[in-house]
């Protein structure tokens, strides 16, 4: 009898729990109006990064495409020439596509990238109303030009090699890069 009385009072406690919860702050986020920041390392849309002088980091090696378990990435590399240089070194990514209908945001492509050209942003609003619209091209993925960057194609920093770029020794553009004249 004592046990039954106890379990009954415990059941009443359950009623109090739901009643008290009504007056607690709700967890719902009114999404389209209110946007909460994501976790710092949230896996969102990809981004193709640039060096500080504006040259692209992508070397068109396709390692990201090979690492992708969902086969969402398509890369075509091409050779840089002295007249048209997009990245330091030999090659650059001429065609770069990510199909967001296939991408599972696992981040294996980021791990595979040898030059940290490919990283992920926190942007998650990727819904659209067409299949073709969800295949992002290189120009959709490229990081915007920041202050001091020059839009490629342009020559490398004077007297530097791709290794200087790789080691992070190029911290801005040189005036000569904009005009394309070699000193």
């Amino acid at each position: 009898m004592a046990d039954e009385a106890k379990s009954f009072s415990q059941q009443l406690q359950g009623f109090w729990v739901t009643f008290a919860t009504m007056f607690k702050k709700v967890n719902t986020v009114q999404y389209p109006e209110v946007k909460e920041p994501t976790a710092e390392r949230f896996h969102g849309r990809h981004q193709l990064n640039r060096y500080d002088d504006g040259l692209e980091k992508c070397i068109g090696c396709e390692l990201c495409a090979w690492a992708c378990p969902a086969d969402a990435i398509y890369v075509e590399g091409a050779d840089n020439t002295e007249e048209k240089r997009f990245s330091p070194g030999e090659r650059f990514g001429q065609v770069y596509q990510i199909n967001y209908l296939r991408c599972i945001f696992c981040g294996l492509c980021i791990e595979a990238c040898p030059t940290r050209a490919l990283t992920m942003t926190n942007e998650y609003e990727l819904a659209d109303n067409g299949r073709a619209k969800l295949i992002f091209e290189k120009e959709d993925l490229l990081a915007p030009l920041r202050n001091g960057m020059i839009a490629p194609p342009h020559p490398m920093y004077p007297d530097s090699s791709h290794l200087n770029y790789y080691k992070g020794e190029i911290t801005g553009s040189h005036p000569s890069q904009a005009t394309g004249e070699q000193e």
Binding site: M1, F15, M22, V26, N27, T28
Partner: protein
């Protein structure tokens, strides 16, 4: 002049207007109930609930209704077409009919005509409500049967068994009200509560009624008929579009109906809360409608609260509770109450009444003690036979080390058989 005589003089057009008003009341109640339930349950789960359609999401139910109506109306090939169509109609019509005898207000003036907001008053109106509720079960049974599919059939059976079982308990709880008020007419029962509500004097009946009204309406925690995990949608699995909407409507109108009945029979109907009786004359008597609605809404809140709190009962637990707890308790309570009633009518002296009450309490205590003892004994006697400890690996209990001695299942079975044989 009593209510029955008052509304007996209603001309036809007043009756029509009243009928329309009651219908509108039910439909609006349903719309608000769907919205209210979703909002309240959401708050109980720390969510917001629908708040997009209209102000505070008030038009959510309307939007859902329009969506339902525009959906494709499927009739399964295996279904019995005619019954399949009739079933939701039965459900939806019967639930409205109970409102015919519910007194919404005291005496008021409607379009210059003195009347009371009650469509009709029968000398047996509460029996009428019970009868209508039983007919409502046909909707469920026929829907389950005519769908020509397993889950609906099982859901329909469960539902009907449930409603019928709980109707017995409900009916018995109402007997106490009949005994005390000396009438089965709703308006007279309300009038009999002008001093004390029956929920106070007849508290056990009230509790039994509240439990059985939840069982009767197939609502959580008694919503076994539509246990999603077991029966998909229960009796309405095969229904879509407007026919499904009719069942949906019936469920909510039913909730409002049993809440109204509870208000009428136990909570003093349209009477104001004790101490606020002066409000009953406000707005020419129309203010009593507020009290009625307030009481119904609080019952509805109880429904939602139960749904937000309790998990669904298992079917056998539910039936056991209905037949072995609610009904016997009701019977004993009615017996005691009837005896007390007879005593008070025959003007038996006070000490005898008190002595009888104490005797009943002692008897109940004795009975429960004996029951407890016997169940404890039965438990001890029915202990499992003393089997040897299993030699196959079993998960360790706290403070035990795992038996790391692997025996093939065949050996283990052989050993058990040896032991038994």
């Amino acid at each position: 002049m009593n209510t029955a005589a008052l509304i007996g003089k209603d001309p036809g057009w007043i009756i029509l207007v009243k009928g329309l008003l009651i219908f509108v009341f039910c439909v609006v109640c349903t719309l608000m109930a769907v919205w209210g339930e979703r909002r309240i349950v959401a708050r109980m789960q720390m969510r917001l609930g629908p708040n997009r359609v209209g102000k505070f999401g008030l038009l959510q139910a309307l939007a859902d209704g329009v969506k339902l109506a525009l959906k494709e109306d499927l009739i399964p090939a295996a279904a019995d077409k005619i019954v399949f169509i009739i079933a939701p109609i039965i459900s939806a019509t019967t639930c409205f009919m109970a409102f015919a005898v519910i007194p919404f207000t005291g005496n008021v003036t409607l379009f210059g005509h003195k009347t009371a907001m009650q469509l009709t008053d029968l000398p047996v109106s509460v029996l009428y409500i019970l009868a209508i509720a039983s007919i409502g079960v046909y909707g469920i049974v026929l829907a389950g049967w005519s769908s020509g599919s397993t889950y609906p059939l099982l859901g329909g059976l469960r539902s009907s068994a449930q409603v019928i079982s709980y109707e017995v308990a409900m009916g018995l709880s109402l007997v106490a009200v009949f005994i005390y008020s000396g009438s089965m007419s709703t308006s007279e029962i309300v009038a009999a509560q002008h001093q004390w509500w029956f929920s106070v004097i007849l508290f056990p009946s009230f509790v039994i009624y509240v439990i059985s009204m939840v069982g009767e309406t197939n609502r959580a925690p008694f919503d076994l008929a539509e246990a999603e995990g077991e029966l998909v949608g229960g009796f309405h699995t095969e229904y879509s579009s407007l026919k499904f909407a009719l069942f949906f409507l019936a469920e909510y109108v039913n909730i409002v109906a049993v809440s109204s009945l509870a208000t009428t029979l136990f909570m003093g109907g349209y009477h104001a809360l004790p101490g606020l009786t002066f409000t009953e004359s406000w707005l020419g008597g129309w203010f009593t409608l507020f009290w009625f609605v307030a009481k119904v809404v609080s019952f509805f809140f109880l429904f939602v609260w139960l749904r937000g709190t309790l998990p669904r009962l298992r079917y056998d637990q539910f039936m056991k509770f209905g037949w072995k707890v609610l009904i016997p308790t009701s019977l004993v309570w009615i017996l005691v109450l009837a005896t007390l009633r007879v005593m008070s009518q025959r003007a038996v002296s006070r000490p005898v009444v008190i002595g009888f009450s104490i005797g009943v309490v002692l008897l109940v205590m004795l009975a429960t003690t004996v029951y407890d003892r016997s169940t404890a004994k039965a438990k001890a006697a029915n202990g499992l036979p003393d089997l040897p400890a299993p030699r196959f690996p079993v998960p360790a209990l706290p403070g035990q080390s795992v038996v790391n001695q692997i025996v093939t299942p065949i050996e283990a079975v052989a050993e058990m058989e040896n032991h038994n044989g």
